[in-house]
Symmetry: C2
Subunit: 562 residues, 2 copies
């Protein structure tokens, strides 16, 4: 039931890593940018070992546990340390600084792995009778505390959907597939690819996150421009709630009242457990052709990006535009034999300078890609290069694309390395209309930098990309890096992070951005939800929650404050 | 405030009509198909005159009326017969047989025309204090009883949004426009066209229906394939509810919890009054090139239709495929100088026969159209004709397209003529996946025919088109015509219609179709909503209603049974 070698204290599995070999400029550059002390570079702080961690005993007493085991079967219920630690947190910076320090005061009391929907129905009834909280858990990759037990005295069981991992049926005529909620990205794609289809959903967490988790949190994949955001993909959803099964009709569209489908999407396990969905799927593309385009500055890049999105003839799978700091980071810190770093070192670097581009202090890199058959992709590229050319974009060719594809799921591994060397790193994201985009960008970056400095984090480094775009607007995704506070207490580090989060989120909302474009609400964004949707919206979401879950057992404290 | 010359007893304005001149085969064919008695053809039953109608006095007493007038202004409040009659019903067959007979036992007690959102806030507070029901009213073109007062003793005010008819702001960069809910189709398009944009929403009711009505009922325009169904178009919605203003964030996408936007869309005035929306708009196309394509049978046509929708290179504005009976009706009953009728009479008719097509007994007509710039449209047509050719589709050229465009909003006018000659006529619509489409089609048509015969309506005539399609499925839209029961009592005619509605709707749901693809729920579909969304879904919608509208004043009895 478990993914072998899972790195309980960090990202992914032990057989994968973000290697810094071949990146000689990485640490020197980062040290300079963040003003890191020498000892942070030289000394790596390792996470505590599992043996060093001691957990509170499960708050489910022996009669309860044996009734649970009778209900679900012996092997379905786990209370061992490893299972409880692995399910105690998601994978945010806040989570990792706590888990690395062994600070786990509030783990779930048990973890259950139901074999089917019937067991979930039984479990929810059992839990409602006993006032036990249930946390639905997919890949556990939430970065907003979405799978963390609520503080307090209530016994809590994490419901891991790992065993519901099948593509149940493919309808090739209608291009839909019924898929179980616990299927991970690779499980979804492998089963669909075998029949010539793809879902096209590739979030950075792809290797570990699950269909149910994507739907529950309104996820967006890196190819959302081509395949849609997750809320566009389910044609129907089915779930178990404390008051019964809910299933929406499998229809491409309907006028039968307000959308229950779009009410379940984004409910983050607070209404019940999504068990399966009928997903819109697409033929597997023959060719993926991703390339880099360089622009003189962000304004040119954004103008080109908008022109690409508003051209009715163009259907890119992916467009990502990095601002100058992110472009510089790729150019300086990338692998010396790959991608932008290699181009920068090559003769091309010299050529770029003559043409007036500067990879370090102003130029912005766009990753642009098309999925489809060969001839179509060629025609799309012809048009795309013309449009980018109108905005002084220069094609850097496929090397940049290949490099990005190779590293597309790698960033979270790097974070584990950074955390060991006293670096604070996190991401915030939002979205807005095209006309408000640059205003929001400036407000967000400036709030982030100001907050980092105010927390004693030094100058910090903030880099942003624009992705997940639409005809009518786009998302912004900023990564910030800075010195951690030297205080070894994880709660001090958390407070430092919280200050940056708070200031940046306030700035995002003040500048007209949405609270979140694809990370969701969880526990960390919940305080701002009222500002996003207003008091009437909050009242409605509270009554919906109350209706699905009258005893309040489903993922308490998530989405809406409890 | 009123549209001049509005035909209170039928469709549209008195200066428009569906002329049968130039259609010599119309009545003889219809008489044969429906087995109409001679006197039905020869004799036209006219609607009663307004003078003959006597309405129940308004149930708002003088003090209430004067307090209302003080609140909103003298001219904003009407209680005259004309206003009350015009707002008593929507425009369904059931509505028209009643209004033509002067059967209006339950009109609204007053009609108000607020000047702005502030007046709506005041009105709702006033009404909630007094237990007065409020019916939001856009164009009044509901075909499901969506604007009809609830039977019972409660005083009822219809809130006509006619004065909120402005495009408030256009954002050309983001391609969005803030538009007031009471703007009709022509008002929306005229204001957007002046700035080079279009909303692209053209339902059959376009001339009279409103933005707010479209959003409240999950409408679909005839060009929904190109521009989306209405629920895809609002980037944000704002409304007044009895518990306060609700406004969703203007963002192209968000992960901030369940979608309140998609909860408001389709709420049919039962939560409150939609006052404005920020709509996604598009550049006005330079060219509209609509043509007819003929297929040997429905199976070929459906296969071609699906291939068009699943081709990533093709972006039609419109595709409508008529089954053989609908194709025959166009061919036989159309205007002798236009469209398919003219082609059938021309030499082309002879050519078609040789090629194995038969306009009367099997061939199916597709209307296919592209909106865009000239060169793009030419290339789209090249590809489209290739795909249609793969399924033995024969291009009939632009005459068919021109004829369809000329008549696109005319059908409802014809209905008034038919009603005067004892013909029952109504439409039902649904949607499903491509793989279930033919099964649903057969079930729907057969139920309709069986029910017509069972009500003594004779053989009847049922014709269907497939439109509003998607990569993953399509809608079905059936029109049925038959002899009315000879009983002059409108309630007898209503019972006859109800029997067909009941049998067909049961069959649609049993065959896996959705209860409605774009007409909405209103009063007529409400009994089936539970079958569509299940008991848990019903419970949730009821609590949402209760939260927005604790005293139950908003459009009672609509959507959810009261």
């Amino acid at each position: 039931m478990d993914i072998p070698n899972l790195r309980w204290w960090g990202w992914g599995t032990l057989d994968q890593d973000y290697s810094l070999e071949g990146r000689p400029a990485f640490w020197p550059t980062l040290q300079k940018w963040l003003e890191l002390p020498d000892e942070a570079i030289e000394h790596e702080t390792l996470p505590v070992s599992l043996e060093e961690i001691s957990l509170r005993p499960p708050r489910l007493d022996a009669p309860m546990l044996s009734s649970l085991r009778r209900l679900l079967g012996e092997e379905t219920v786990r209370t061992d340390k490893r299972a409880r630690v692995e399910h105690a947190y998601g994978k945010s910076y806040r989570d990792l600084i706590r888990v690395r320090a062994g600070h786990i005061p509030n783990p779930p009391d048990a973890v259950v792995y139901p074999a089917d929907e019937g067991q979930i129905v039984a479990l929810l009834a059992w839990a409602a009778d006993r006032g036990v909280a249930i946390i639905p858990f997919g890949g556990g990759s939430s970065v907003l505390g979405g799978v963390e037990p609520e503080p307090g005295d209530r016994p809590t069981i994490t419901l891991d959907l790992a065993r519901l991992d099948h593509v149940l049926a493919v309808d090739p005529v209608s291009r839909t597939a019924r898929i179980q909620a616990g299927a991970t990205g690779p499980e979804v794609e492998a089963q669909l690819n075998a029949q010539g289809f793809t879902l096209g959903h590739f979030p950075q967490s792809f290797e570990f996150s699950t269909l149910g988790g994507w739907i529950a949190t309104r996820s967006a994949g890196q190819n959302s421009i081509g395949y849609g955001k997750i809320e566009d993909m389910p044609q129907a959803v089915r779930g178990v709630t404390p008051v019964g099964i809910i299933e929406t009709k499998n229809t491409p569209a309907t006028a039968a009242g307000p959308s229950l489908l779009q009410l379940l999407i984004g409910s983050e396990g607070t209404y019940g457990v999504i068990t399966e969905a009928t997903m819109r799927i697409h033929p597997l593309p023959a060719v993926q052709d991703y390339r880099g385009i360089l622009f003189h500055n962000l304004e040119d890049g954004v103008a080109a990006f908008r022109a690409l999105m508003q051209n009715p003839d163009l259907h890119p799978a992916i467009v990502r535009l990095s601002d100058a700091p992110e472009t510089a980071a790729y150019a300086v810190m990338g692998h010396e034999h790959h991608g932008l770093r290699r181009l920068a070192d090559d003769l091309l670097g010299w050529y770029l300078k003559i043409r007036g581009y500067d990879l370090i202090t102003g130029s912005t890199l766009m990753l642009l890609g098309f999925d489809g058959d060969a001839e179509w992709v060629t025609r799309q590229w012809d048009l795309a290069l013309e449009i980018c050319g109108d905005h002084r974009g220069l094609s850097l060719g496929r090397a940049v694309g290949r490099s990005w594809i190779r590293d597309r799921y790698a960033q979270p591994y790097l974070r584990d390395t950074l955390l060991g060397h006293g670096v604070m790193v996190d991401t915030l994201e939002t979205a807005t209309t095209w006309s408000n985009l640059m205003h929001l960008y400036r407000a967000m970056v400036s709030a982030m930098k100001g907050a980092i400095a105010a927390t004693g984090g030094g100058p910090g480094y903030v880099m942003t990309h624009i992705s997940h775009a639409y005809e009518h607007g786009a998302s912004l995704y900023s990564t910030f890096l800075s010195r951690q506070t030297p205080d070894p207490d994880p709660l001090a580090k958390q407070a430092q992070w919280q200050a940056v989060k708070q200031a940046t989120t306030d700035a995002i909302l003040a500048a007209g951005g949405t609270l979140t474009h694809h990370h969701g609400i969880g526990r960390d964004h919940a305080p701002w939800l009222k500002e996003e949707i207003g008091p009437v919206g909050m009242k409605v979401l509270r009554t919906v929650k109350q209706t699905f879950d009258p005893t309040g057992i489903m993922n308490p404290g998530i989405l809406l404050h409890s």
